[in-house]
Amino acid sequence: MAAPMFFTVRSVLTVSLRYHTQSNVYGYHYNQKKCMSTYRELKKFYKNASIVTSEGWYEINLDKRKLRTPGGNLFRVPNEALALAIATEWNSQDKVIKRHNMHLTSLCNTALDNPFHKTRDVLTDSIIHFLETDTMCYRLTEPEDLVQFQSQNWDPVINWAKDRYKIDITPTYTIAPPDVPQHTKDTIRRHLLSYSDWALFGYQFAVDSVKSLLIIMALVDKFISVDTAVHLSRLEQEYQVKKWGNVEWYHDIDEYELKTRLASAILFIHWSSENVSIKQKASLAIQNIC
C-alpha cells in the first residue's frame, strides 16, 4: 500500500504547485525542476497501453493492469478519441514516465478525482475572474509600433466576442482594470454553465495557461487555431524577441510547452463535451420508445 500512497501525495503536491505557482513563469519552472530532482523518477513498468470499453466508458490498460487515478479511482473517460490519445501519451513514454508532459492524463485525473472539491459554481467563478484581468484588455500606450501590433492582433478577436456573445468589454490603457459590466459576466456565466463538469476543468486549465478568457472562447468556438491563440497570448514577448533576439532554450521551450498545454486542454474540452450531447440524444430516444 505504500506505493500508491506515495503517488497520491506526490501528484497532489505537483498539482498544487501547478495551481499556486503558474502565474509566475520563473517560479513555475523553478518549482517544477525542484520537484523533478527531489522525487524519485517513475520507470516505465509496462510495454503497451491499450483501451477497453466498459459500461459505455473507455478505460486504459497498461499491459494487463487497469490504470487508476492518483486518488485511487478507476481511470475512465467518456470518449474513444480521448481514450486513444491518452493511450498514445502512455505509449510515447520511453524508459522514464514524464508525467509533467501528460496533460490529457492529468486533466482526466483532475476531473475524476476533483482533488480540491470544486463545484461548478466555484469553477465558473474562477474562470470568469480571468475576464477582469484579460490579457487582451491590458493595452500599452508606448512604444508606438507595439501599440499598433496589439490593436491589429487583439481587436479582431475582441470584436468577434462582442458580436458573437453580445457582450460589452472595453480595453484599458491604465493600471485600472478594464470595465466589465454585470450583464457581460452573466452572459458568459450562462454560456460556461452549458458545458459539462469535465469541460469546465479543461476550460480552467486553458484559461489559466494563456491568462485570457476571450482567447479561449474564440479557440473553443473554432474562430482561431491553437497557434494563433498562443501567438495572441505572447504578443509582447514576440515583439521583444523581434527586437532583441530569440533564445531557444527559453522562448522556444516556453512556446512549445504552452502550445502543448493549450492543445491538450482544447481537445479535452471538445472530446469530453462531444460525448455528452450524443448521450443525451440516445437517452431521449430510449424514453420515446418506452
Binding site: E80, L84, A87, T88, N101, K222, S225, Y256, A263, I266
Partner: protein
C-alpha cells in the same frame, strides 16, 4: 471541409507524428482510428450535426499537440537534461572562463 490539399497534408502529418510514437510495422488502434475518421468524413465533414470545420479543427489541434510535444522534448533533452557546468553555461552566452589559479605553475612557490 477545408480545401482537399489542406486535409491531405493534415492526414499525412498526423500519421507521420504517430509514427514517431508507434515505431512497429503493425498499425496501432490510434493510427487505425485516424484513418477511419478521415475515411468517414471524406465526402463531407458535416455529418452527425457537426459544424463545418469541426473535424478539421480537432485534427489540427491534435497535430499541434503531437508536434509541439516532440519539439519541446527535443529541446528539453538538449538543454535541461543535466545541470550544466560553469564553463558550458558561460559558453552558451559566448563567454570564456578565466584561467584558474594553479599553485604548481606559480614560480614563487618553487
Amino acid at each position: 471541409m477545408a480545401a482537399p490539399s489542406r486535409s491531405i497534408s493534415l492526414y499525412r502529418n498526423l500519421l507521420k507524428e504517430l509514427k514517431h510514437v508507434y515505431k512497429d510495422k503493425t498499425e496501432s488502434p490510434a493510427q487505425i482510428f485516424v484513418k477511419d475518421q478521415f475515411r468517414n468524413f471524406q465526402v463531407t465533414t458535416e455529418k452527425v450535426c457537426r459544424g463545418r470545420n469541426e473535424v478539421y479543427h480537432t485534427g489540427e489541434t491534435y497535430l499541434c499537440l503531437l508536434q509541439n510535444l516532440r519539439k519541446y522534448e527535443e529541446l528539453h533533452a538538449q538543454y535541461h537534461s543535466q545541470e550544466r557546468s560553469v564553463e558550458s553555461s558561460a559558453n552558451l552566452v559566448g563567454l570564456k572562463l578565466p584561467k584558474t589559479y594553479n599553485p604548481d605553475s606559480n614560480p614563487s612557490n618553487k
